[in-house]
């Protein structure tokens, strides 16, 4: 009985078992209603019926026991909406901060690009100035 998932899985299994119970009971009865009922088959079905039924009973009892331990008669009136709202607002703040940081980053890259362009231009100008001086 660890996680709710497991519990749901168990309940699912019980439901399947109940289907099996019904099926074996049905098979047993229809076998009986035949003109010449095969004793062995009937016995097999009945045995299966009883076995699965016991299984279902024990499992169901387990579940009910568990439920009596954990549940109360009253409905749960609280909710996590308050904390959820807090969480949402925190996410919003985080997003906001991220956006602002991204804006800063864009400005930085833009500035760096401008700087590089400027330096390139300077270098080219220097080259151009050097070339005429070397030619002369």
């Amino acid at each position: 009985m660890s996680s709710p998932m497991d519990r749901l899985q168990t309940l699912d299994n019980i439901e399947k078992d109940i289907a099996t119970v019904l099926q074996s009971a049905g098979h047993a009865l229809s076998e009986l209603s035949k003109d010449k009922p095969a004793n062995k088959q009937v016995e097999g079905h009945v045995n299966q019926f009883r076995q699965t039924l016991t299984n279902v009973e024990t499992e169901l009892a387990k579940q009910i026991n568990y439920l009596t331990q954990v549940s109360t008669g009253q409905a749960h009136e609280g909710s996590s909406y308050n904390s959820q709202k807090t969480l949402q607002m925190a996410m919003h703040r985080l997003d906001h901060a991220r956006t602002r940081v991204n804006e800063l980053d864009t400005i930085k890259t833009k500035y760096i690009q401008l700087l590089q362009q400027h330096q390139l231009q300077k270098q080219q100008q220097g080259m151009q100035q050097q070339q005429p001086s070397s030619q002369s």
């Binding site: 439901e15 049905g26 009986l32 609280g78 607002m89 996410m91 804006e103």
Partner: protein, 682 residues
Amino acid sequence: MADIRLEVPAENSVLEVLYDGSELHQQPPSMSEHLTQLARKIDFATDGEEIKEEKKEEEEEEEKQPFQQPHWPLEEVRNKIRQALTEVSVLHDLLAVVKPKPPQYMVLDPVQADPPEPKAYIQFLSLKKSLQAAGTILLNGAERLRTSQAEMGRPGRVVGQDFHIELLRLRQNWRLKKVGSTILGDLSYRSAGSMYRHSGIFEVSKADDGPGGPGILSIGSGGASPVAPQLGPRAIQSSLRVTVPTELTGSAYIFVCIKKDEEDICSAQLTSSDFVSGETHWQQKLEKAQNVLFCKELFSQLAREAVKLTPSIPHLVVGNQITATIFPGIHLLVGLCHSDGKNGQKGGSGVLVPGNSGTGGVVVGGNNHGSTTNMAPTSVMAGASMAGAPGVGLGGLGPSKYKHEHDLEHSLHQLLHRVYHHSFQHPLPHPVYAYMGMSKRRRAAGPEGMDKTQLVNMMKEQTLLEQIIRQVQHNFLRLRTMYVIDQLAAEFKDPLIVSHWNAFNSPTRSCVKINIATQGYDSVLRTKLVIHISERSLKCICRDGKIMTMSFEPQELRNLILCQISQHNMAALQCLARYTGWTVLSSEQNVGTGAIEPLGNASTVMLASPSGNKVIGVHSGPHQRVSVMVSSSPRPDFYPSTVVSGQRWENLGASWQEVRHDRMEGRNFLNKMELLMAALTA
């Protein structure tokens, strides 16, 4: 022979006499009424013989009864009496049998019919048949169970998409209860402390399957839901469907902006272009619906307060907008944007053109503007909004004109959330005998003997609108201060203005520290001042401990900083003179002579060289450029004359010559002055 008519004389009692003299007679009683009247006259408390007579009567009546009304008042009595008569007769018979002297016995034997002939074979056959029928029913039931189980765990469905598992997930985050055969959920924040009337009920049902049916959903990557289960971006069939009320569908957000211009106060129409596809995952759907509910509550609260408050300039509440004046000529606009998914925009008359699915959108203005796109300004912030992804536009106006203030929207959310919080959370510890929700000060009010005014003052609480207006005022003032300081820092390079903003601040109070220093001479002098920014005023604490309070006008701050720059130059020069060995002859903060400054006073400093033959005078005002004068005495070229025989007589002050220090070498004022001093000393 004449016919003799027999008729009842009109002796019915008169019911009413009308004004014209005619009489209204009571209608003659019907047969049954007549009988009832007669029956009322019978007295049952008389002797038995009379009862017998009565019985005869009654029997007669009984005969009559089929022709009359079946129910009459004594029917029940009659029945009971009759029953009693039967019983008494039986008892009488019994006694007559038992009573004679040689006692006789009476045996009661049940009447037995002849048992039917048992037909074994037919019985066997019918048994078989019924067995078979039972078997078939059981098998059918088992088959149906199997089928439903198989549907649950169909291979097309991802593991974990089972209805019950999804229901479990839903229950983990949302309030659910079972009413009859339906599962109802509660979206409202009432359990968190809200007082809003909207019920916020949604219904949970099993999704009916079908290829391409409503169970299909595709989750975009922009789903910013914090508690959504981690699901891949591909289409997943959800086996659970939630139905939210129509007024909560779609998405909504509170639009907050600050407008600067006076005209078109209420001409802006808010529209939102956030489209929500019909089927989204329930988590997002519920979150959006809850957000819509929250926004509606927030807006209704604000609108109520706006109407109730009576400031000097009244707040305007028009449609889905509230306009409040925060400073002269500057307005705060709060609007509720709600797009309900289909095509209707609540409160906005702008026509909406579907944008490209989701974040950014296109808004077409209602009037003569053609179409204005607003992709650029909001696309960056789209993910950060409370509503998820709004494309904000104002009908008929350039959308870039009004910037949605995300942080103010967030502040509004925070304020309402705080209201919720306070309605449930009571500060601990509190005595067990105290009422819940009473503040500590209020509990202490009795023992401390507070008077009425104190109590009234204590009960005063600021409304949400007042609080947000204060925050907006502070926000605006902070930005403006920032702008002024930045402008000045860009304008003045000579003393550098460095501002440090405190990272920790409250929504209505922040603090900036300004350092004024000259580049390269940081260690010589730094002028520091601290400015506290509150809602409508600035408080500046200077280096010398002076405290100045300024209003929200930016010019005042600008003037103050200009004065500080001027003073910094003077003070730094004096410090520099101390290092270089020059003597400060005089220093005057507020000079009374010279041209009148438009603001504040000019200051002067006079410095003498170590040898005493050179004097530098510096005059500086907040709005004037710095002027530097030099006088040297005695003159280096001294020729004794008959009047002035010795050089020492030349030590009287000589004429001043102005230095054009803007043509001097040097990076800044102090550097130039240092060079000047060096040149004069050499």
